[in-house]
Symmetry: C2
């Protein structure tokens, strides 16, 4: 839950999600080249890979292996709680579901 927000905190990761909404089923290199084409983002492959890992841990990106390729898909499900939490104020005793540092 908390990971979702941290994942969204980085502009590069948000750009990756944008790219994945345009076209499902992308490999790592497709993500890289798309970032460069659309956002003039010249991040290295390793950097993008680490960003993808973060998105994956947050559940925003799901992956599967296809031969030597790693296929990435977006999953917007983890975003729904954001809406439920503040955009639709329930005014019934709100969550005590987090333990900050």
């Amino acid at each position: 839950m908390a990971d979702v927000f941290k994942a969204l905190a980085d502009p590069t990761r948000r750009a990756i999600l944008d790219g994945l909404t345009e076209n499902e089923e992308q490999t790592l290199f497709e993500i890289c080249s798309r970032l460069y084409a659309k956002h003039q983002l010249s991040s290295s492959r390793q950097a993008i890979s680490q960003h993808v890992d973060v998105l994956e841990e947050a559940g925003l990106v799901e992956t599967s292996r296809r031969g030597r390729y790693k296929i990435h898909r977006i999953n917007t499900a983890p975003l729904q709680p954001i809406v439920d939490r503040w955009l639709i104020p329930t005014h019934t005793t709100p969550p005590d579901q987090e333990e900050p540092r």
Copy 2:
């Protein structure tokens, strides 16, 4: 726009927003004591103040002065673009509205 995500990245700041949905019009000390009561969060006043500043810059919290008190209110408007961006995929040429580092 980008500040909204950074603002939401911290659990303490999210707890502050939770508190503000429970009760509009809170002073800084009210926010502090509410954080401690609900989340056992014993952050200092200065720490909370800095968090509020971040939320304010992101537009998620609006303030006004009333004597020596600073009144805080939540503003969920900046959260709407999040929904529009990924939860309701438009599939019309998506945004090129950010310039990452």
